[in-house]
Amino acid sequence: MPQALFYLFAAFAVLGAFGVIVNRNPVSSAFSLIGCFVSIAALFIGLNAYFIGTIQVLVYTGAIMVLFLFIIMLLDLRAEERRPLNLGAVLAGLGTGLTFLVMSSVVIGRFPEGGRGMPELKAVAGSDVHELGRVIFTDFNFPLQIIAVLLVSATVGVVVLCKKELH
């Protein structure tokens, strides 16, 4: 991926994330989040991770966003009212952000690894889905079963939360 395109999509992702907190209407926020997710998917595809990019669009912008919109509609949220800015909170937030920036740049600057670029990605022969599947189903067998248990616990959780009258 040319560097210009990387910066373009990265800027879109940051803009989308910014839109989520700036928009007062929750549905507008959710749609800004879609823009952010799609830009991140484009970044994945730029890294030759086609499968992850596709899944990012299908699962995050498809399924997770539907869930977010459902929650917005379930709670019947209205546009938030503008509140007068709290000067103390704004100053504290700016201070915290600035401190974090200075601290992380100092820490990264102290280590020689900080100045090095990212290692070149290993060129994958064939498709990345083949490579991914081979790794998941041989080396990462146990984590896969753990994911299944996690999904079952999510199923139980949602049924218990939504079905009050258990029988």
Partner: protein
Amino acid sequence: MLQDYIPVLLQILVAGGLALAILILSWVLGRSAKTSQIKDSAYECGMLPVGEGQARFSVKFYLVAMLFVIFDIEVVFLYPWAVNFRSMIQSEAGMTMVWSMAGFVGILFIGYLYALRKGALDWKQ
């Protein structure tokens, strides 16, 4: 390499252009109409509109959406399995792969049975 993405770019342009064209057309064509507060209010068979126009959704929708997401994630793992099946089943890792997916689907099947027995998939309850 980058030329491969020209169709994607074209599709984005067409989709965005269509949305923009519809917005501009409705703005151009709808400008002449006179609007007043009474004209803009919701039409309820001649009665005065009462309450909010937006109804709250039932929590059942959330349950179904959540179950959909959970089984959507299952399909995400099934996809690389299906793509690799033919080439991997002949290698020495073939049986590992079969049992791995059997365990994964088996555990999720327990969750499915739980949801089924609790009536989570029954809309009427």
